[in-house]
Symmetry: C2
DNA sequence: CAAATATAGGATAATATTGTCTTCATATCC
DNA sequence: GGATATGAAGACAATATTATCCTATATTTG
């Protein structure tokens, strides 16, 4: 199991990329998909979840695409995660027990709730502007590596 | 998305219960399943993953069942998780990028790797004996609640 | 208005996860 | 040795996730 679903991860990577191009207005999803090595149709669907909650604005037709509806400094990763995966990860019992709480806790209740908050903080801290700036200035990576790059890395 | 798969969660809940009955020798899987409100066939499959890595010993026939192969004080939750879900959660990039590391990090690399370790520690700390003792002494919960219990809880 | 381009949205398919059921093999007990 | 109880293992089904493809709709451009 991964922490986040693939859809969510694709959404986050795309969001950071779109934020890095925020000054250019609408950016086409197919360009984002190409840049990140994703299926454009699949990415379109994922980003629709972000437009439906008004995080993204979309525009059809030539020179259309998507852009963020507000200042990317004010958009935290947790909003992207909430729109795609939901926030259950940050609210639910680690053992999936409904009603697990102070009154009827599971054996992991205390340690997990504490940890859950730290995890939530992690994603509440990160805003899209900072993340995208880091990508630009430090050459961080949003793409998968191709075969050759993976080989190079393993040497 | 949840942190752990359902199989893993079922495995953990069963493991804690089995540990709480460790002094009774082999305990039948169907009894465990009944106690925890799980399908016995499904649980059998999950526990087979624990016997196949020699965490559990199994015994067929009347008075058969499963029991832990070593002192439950020495079995940490991380071992159960590793056998069922694998340890990818504690080793992989949060954005699922292969080869994400110091050399070619993703924008979340630093904060996630730090957090990942804390998460791992959480599950490395907890041993089955302590967890099962907590369940017994503090009446903690391994079961799902039934309709009535859920209603009671919400009042 | 026509052509081109882009998102929206639905149909379908592939795969993984979760769950049930049946059969088999083995052990116990009488 | 026969009846019974139990885990092992595989077939199968339901559901969720991931992915692809096709059509519809809106918008721009000429």
């Amino acid at each position: 199991m991964a922490l986040l679903s693939k859809s969510c991860v694709y959404g986050i990577r795309a969001a950071i990329y779109i934020a890095s191009e925020a000054d250019k207005g609408y950016i086409s999803i197919s360009q984002v998909a190409k840049e990140l090595n994703l299926s454009s149709h699949f990415l379109t669907k994922i980003l629709q979840e972000l437009t439906s909650v008004n995080l993204l604005l979309s525009h059809k037709g030539p020179r259309g695409g998507v852009k963020f509806a507000k200042d990317t400094k004010k958009i935290k990763l947790i909003e992207i995660i909430g729109a795609i995966d939901g926030l259950e990860l940050f609210t639910e019992c680690a053992l999936g027990l409904e009603g697990c709480g102070v009154y009827k806790p599971c054996p992991l209740h205390d340690s997990w709730t504490a940890h859950r908050e730290a995890l939530r903080n992690l994603f509440e801290r990160e805003n899209l502007y900072d993340l995208s700036e880091n990508v630009k200035s430090a050459g961080l990576r949003l793409r998968t590596l191709n075969q050759q790059e993976l080989l190079d890395l393993n040497q």
